[in-house]
């Protein structure tokens, strides 16, 4: 025990002060170069600074490493710089979108959003009047009906692919993959021509949910399939060896074992459709009043409200649109985080 008091944990592989000094100098030099180059040439704007900075940083880093530690280390430094640029290009737009939504949306957020609809107000009214209630209930009903349709169908498809393993597994797998790339407007037009024109002849939430189900089923089926494939075959054999029929084994052993993963599949499916605009625009219309009946009359929804408010174009309506975007984004984010938490709990047990 005495030795532990004397010997301290160290990290001999860390950069020495001199190396850190070099890195800092390279960084400062690159910034100075970017300012100088932008001032001296016709290039303008933040992008120009970023571009010149990255080029200069890579060049200095390469040179310094080449001189002090040789070509291999210098190549390594360049590769690292390129990777950092790649990550920045990928991440920057996402952060920018989130920041813009929050910055523009929060001014439109007030408690009335969740208690009032727009039946007595227009989107050009001052933003503290009216609210999102009709759009929130509409989206909730659309998603709920789509959930009721797609979750059983999606999970049964997955069960066919993993448990029954019939002759049509390959074509069905191919179809499910192809369907997950179907543009949402196609789903909307399909329901419009197959259901709305010949049968219902009018806007309703239900036909919107039908189109959303077309988009949701492949997501649920694929995620559920992956989850069911993780269930070890031992469990299926154990269930059958105990005198269970195939169906009872699947229902009582395999599906319960995959329960939390199937919930994740469901949530990912919801996240996929919550923001879909095109089918909603075509099929459910968009009332300004809370409509709790999915089978009759137009029904508001968040994407429709955003589209409509933005199209009007007054400062109030645009702020309303950003506020609705913020609400939608938060809903989707909450869904994704809960899906992640659920699947983590599954892997830890």
């Amino acid at each position: 025990m005495t030795s532990s008091a004397i010997i301290k944990p160290q990290k001999p592989w860390q950069a020495s002060p001199r190396q850190r000094m070099n890195s800092a100098l390279i960084f400062v030099a690159a910034i100075a170069t970017s300012y100088a180059v932008v001032a001296a040439t016709p290039m303008k704007g933040k992008l120009a600074y970023a571009f010149v900075f990255f080029v200069a940083y890579t060049a200095f880093d390469f040179t310094v490493n080449f001189i002090s530690r040789g070509f291999a280390v210098a190549k390594d430094a360049v590769a690292r710089a390129v990777v950092v640029v790649g990550i920045s290009v990928a991440v920057f737009p996402i952060i920018s979108i989130l920041a813009t939504v929050v910055a523009r949306g929060w001014r439109g957020i007030h408690l009335g959003l969740f208690t009032h609809d727009m039946a007595l107000n227009s989107v050009t009214d001052p933003i503290n009047q009216g609210g999102l209630l009709h759009a929130l209930t509409g989206t909730a009903i659309l998603v709920l009906v789509a959930l009721i349709i797609s979750v059983p169908l999606g999970i049964l498809t997955a069960i066919y692919m993993t448990e029954i393993r019939g002759r049509f597994v390959r074509p069905i797998k191919f179809l499910v993959q192809a369907m997950s790339g179907v543009p949402s407007i196609v789903a909307g037009l399909f329901i419009l021509s197959a259901v709305v024109y010949p049968i219902t002849k009018g806007y309703s939430g239900f036909v919107g949910s039908l189109a959303l189900s077309i988009l949701m089923i492949p997501t649920v089926a694929r995620t559920s399939e992956e989850v069911l494939l993780l269930i070890p075959n031992d469990l299926r054999e154990a269930g059958v060896a105990l005198g269970g029929t195939h169906w009872r084994t699947v229902a009582m052993v395999v599906v319960p074992a995959a329960r939390s993963g199937l919930v994740t599949a469901m949530i990912l499916g919801v996240a996929r459709i919550a923001g879909e605009t095109a089918p909603v625009l075509l099929l459910t219309g968009g009332g300004d009043k809370v409509n709790g009946d999915p089978f009759h009359g137009p029904m508001g929804s968040l994407p429709f409200y955003i589209w409509k408010s933005y199209a009007v174009g007054t400062p109030e309506s645009i702020t309303r649109a950003w506020a609705a975007i913020l609400v939608l984004l938060v809903i989707v984010l909450v869904l994704f985080v809960s899906a992640r938490l659920l699947s983590e709990r599954r892997s830890s047990t």
Binding site: P232, D234, L235, E237, A238, G239, V240, A241, L242, G243, G244, T245, R248, T249, M252, V253, P256, A257, R259, T349
Partner: protein, 289 residues
């Protein structure tokens, strides 16, 4: 000289496992009660695709005895044991020929309810596989739910099965915990208790201890000894010590390039002390395999 030497060595080894078997025989509280033929395999052949993996296995398993199947990897032991409760047909491309008679009736006869067969012929697998979504007590009683059986008193059955599997004392205070919270050896005994709950006449064990530590193995061997008095037990094992410790009869299977065949069958003591076939002797003395 060297020939003589190896002869002596082999004799020593043969007799040492033979001793284990004899000690077991002598230490048994009640002598093995052979209660008639429980399960008969008649001319079993098995294929995966076009490849024959098992040829002409005929073997009788008496009720109240433990039969061990030994042999090197790939000799068809597991395939054979899986034909005995119709688990073989779950592997794509599998085929078989022959008869398996349970109380005189062929379990492969057309019109047989395969789920009823598997109720009477239970199975314990190589890896412990308790159902992860179920608690300890739900695991034990899972067979009743799966097979839609009714029992008068579930608590009594639960205690009885866990008691027979040698697990009751360790889990009686935490029956509501999940099966996955137990250690590997406890999980395997839980799986044995689960098999017992549907009251099988025959219990097939496919290398039940190969994933377990020696302590757990010992507990399971004790469990097997307790169970043997009331049912037919067939155990596949790679561990010849284990075969000598737990079984009354031993069958030695071998694949010499082609499909697996039974080389020798007899009382365990004789297989390990006076094997008739030179290949059996070579295997039980550890000279190959």
């Amino acid at each position: 000289m060297s020939d003589l030497n190896s002869e002596n060595r082999s004799q020593g080894l043969v007799s040492s496992l033979g001793d284990v078997a004899r000690r077991r025989f002598e230490s048994k509280s009640a002598p093995t009660q052979v209660q008639g033929v429980g399960l008969e395999a008649r001319g079993i052949h098995a294929w995966f695709g076009d490849r024959m993996v098992l040829e002409d296995m005929s073997l009788d398993f008496w009720s109240g005895t433990v039969t061990a199947l030994i042999g090197p990897s790939g000799c068809g032991k597991s395939t054979f044991i899986r034909t005995l409760n119709r688990m073989h047909e779950f592997i794509p491309g599998a085929a078989m020929a022959g008869q398996v008679l349970l109380n005189g009736e062929d379990i492969y006869a057309s019109g047989t309810d395969v789920t009823k067969i598997r109720l009477k012929i239970g199975m314990v697998f190589q890896k412990p596989n308790p159902f992860p979504s179920m608690t300890i007590s739900e695991n034990v009683l899972a067979g009743l739910k799966l097979a839609q059986l009714k029992v008068e008193n579930k608590d009594d059955l639960l205690e009885e099965c866990l008691e027979r599997a040698g697990l009751w004392n360790e889990v009686k205070d935490r029956l509501g915990n999940y099966g996955g919270s137990l250690s590997g050896g406890q999980q395997q005994r839980l799986c044995i208790a689960r098999s017992l709950a549907v009251r099988p006449e025959v219990l097939l064990m496919d290398e039940p201890c190969s994933a377990l530590d020696p302590g757990s193995t010992l507990r399971i061997e004790e469990t097997i000894s307790h169970l043997a008095s009331s049912m037919t037990i067939i155990i596949v094992t790679h561990n010849m010590q284990q075969a000598a410790r737990v079984s009354d009869y031993t069958a030695f299977l071998l694949s010499e390039g082609g499909p697996g065949r039974m080389v020798e069958f007899g009382p365990t003591g004789e297989i390990f002390s006076r094997p008739k076939d030179i290949r059996t002797e070579n295997y039980v003395t550890g000279r190959f395999g």
